[in-house]
């Protein structure tokens, strides 16, 4: 045996520009879309308004969808009942906000934000707990079978939705935004609703914190490794089931947060709102690449923008536009924009 092991030069240094650009194409999609919107929408001020509301909507969808996509990535579990957490979050949050009417009605930003924070905490606590129970009772027995997962989680969704009727009654509930979050600010001639700017901010914070946890912490390493090869993570000595339950609970709590955000966005909530949002969530996770948080983020912003631009340009096409978007992206990249590497 000799010492002649050749040096293994990495093969990635001399790729043509188009090849090196390829992984970045999805990232460019959002700015390209915004520019395209600018070209198509006649008035710059309505373009700005639409862009902000599209980004706000996208951020909320991202907050909701991020947990679902990670749950799939980690354990190959597809949860059709995720929408139940959105609705529960919205109802719990709204109940708290209505109870804190004196705080939300006061013209003080501090009091308003405190009330919203309390509502969000309550909603996330309830939906997190609900997620824990859901994982235990509904999902745990059907690991490994997609067919049963879809059926059983759909059943769980029906039951959860009906429980909302039992607890809160069948009526839709109107919920006004806190005093200081009402109205709009004018920027460059465009009216930008304050709340939408807040939603964009919250969404960004969630995205950046999720990214920081995934990139910088040990837990994040385990989750990222687990998405690719859960078996090997176990063979290194980590109990992936426990990590998975944690991600499931966190994902459910995030859906609850998204529910509260959505409730304040629409200012009205219904028991089946979660179901309606889930349609967009499914589109987002499919085009983003099931299991990828970055893909989910890009997909959510894309869907939000397309939905808002289309609703302005041709109202009847708003929902169809997203289906068309999904079809186009699946033809372009069948595994989604940021395909997830799977060991098997």
């Amino acid at each position: 045996m000799t010492d002649t092991a050749p040096t293994h030069a990495p093969k990635m240094t001399k790729l043509p520009l188009s090849e090196r650009l390829k992984p970045w194409l999805p990232v460019l999609l959002v700015p390209v879309l915004i520019v395209l919107g600018f070209a198509l929408i006649p008035s710059p001020s309505s373009w700005l308004t639409l862009t902000v509301s599209g980004l706000a909507m996208g951020m909320m969808i991202f907050v909701i969808a991020s947990g679902m996509t990670l749950v799939f990535g980690l354990m190959d579990v597809i949860n059709f009942g995720h929408g139940a957490f959105i609705s529960f979050g919205a109802f719990v949050g709204t109940t708290v906000l209505l109870a804190l009417a004196s705080m939300t009605g006061a013209p003080s930003l501090m009091l308003n934000l405190l009330a919203v924070a309390l509502a969000v905490l309550a909603a996330m606590a309830v939906t997190g707990a609900l997620g824990w129970g859901f994982e235990r009772v509904i999902v745990r027995p059907v690991y490994g079978s997609h067919l049963k997962q879809i059926l059983v989680t759909m059943g769980g969704l029906i039951v959860a939705e009906q429980l909302i009727y039992v607890i809160w009654g069948g009526q839709e509930i109107v919920i006004a935004r806190p005093e200081t979050l009402k109205g709009a600010i004018t920027f460059a001639g465009a009216a930008l609703e304050k709340y939408r700017l807040v939603a964009v901010g919250v969404g960004l914070i969630v995205f950046l914190s999720l990214r920081a946890v995934l990139r910088r912490t040990k837990l994040g390493l385990i989750v990222r490794a687990g998405v690719e090869n859960p078996e090997m993570v176990q063979a290194l000595g980590y109990n992936i089931t426990r990590v998975f339950v944690g991600v499931f609970v966190a994902g459910s709590a995030l859906a609850g947060l998204g529910g509260v955000m959505w409730a304040l966005y629409q200012e009205i909530i219904t028991a089946h709102m979660g179901n309606e949002i889930m349609i967009l969530v499914f589109i987002v996770v499919i085009i983003g690449g099931l299991g990828s948080v970055e893909g989910c983020f890009i997909g959510a912003l894309t869907v939000g923008l397309v939905q808002n631009y289309a609703a302005f340009l041709e109202p009847k096409l708003a929902l169809i536009s997203n289906i068309a978007l999904m079809v186009a992206i699946l033809m372009w990249r069948p595994m989604g924009m940021v395909p997830v590497v799977k060991a098997k």
Partner: protein, 240 residues
Amino acid sequence: MSDPILRLTGVKTDIAQYHILHGVDFEVPRGGVTMLLGRNGAGKTTTLRTIMGLWKPHAGEIRLDGAPIQGLSPAQIARRGIGFVPEDMGIFSDLTVEENIRLAALDGHPIPERLDWIFGAFPALRTFWKSAAGTLSGGQKQMLSVARAVVEDRELYLIDEPSKGLAPAIVATLARALKDLKNRGASILMVEQNFSLARALGDHVAVMDDGRIVWTGAMAELAGDTGLQERLMGLKMEQA
């Protein structure tokens, strides 16, 4: 002879509706390399995966250092002290080389001396320390897989076909590292198809066929008896 580090008794494993292991009995002595040999499909990989807890045996007993480990989860088995280098290497390609190594350290901080050993044995890993593991060559991935297994202190290493599909020069690098590991007193159970590598590294041999152990003995005995080799494995001994 002292107590074996690992002992399998009557281990049977089914995968889906197929019986793969029909009662495997053998021992891995403490210290040294035990080679698990046999034809394709004999059940070698399944045996390693069963020891690791990745397949659950439905009968039999697996003892590590005298304590039964069958039925434990893979994570528990790893923490009992088994390091695993799977057939497909199990590299996390989205993570950097550094992150792969860091993940292997249960407290997140690899011991410096261990890192020195890794860099000494596999200099390429230091070069590509911050690169995504997915961009490594096949040989470098195999080095990373072995490196990952030795980050923590282990009682026993399970190594599945490290030479598979690799160029001879890289196999030589790996062989040197494994030999060094052995010289430091490690116990290794290794599956290998490349008989010259198996002969160079192995001290003991267990030969499998059709889900059972059909022969055990010293490597020297098998290496010196071409008739036995042909009978057990259909091997022709004319390697360099």
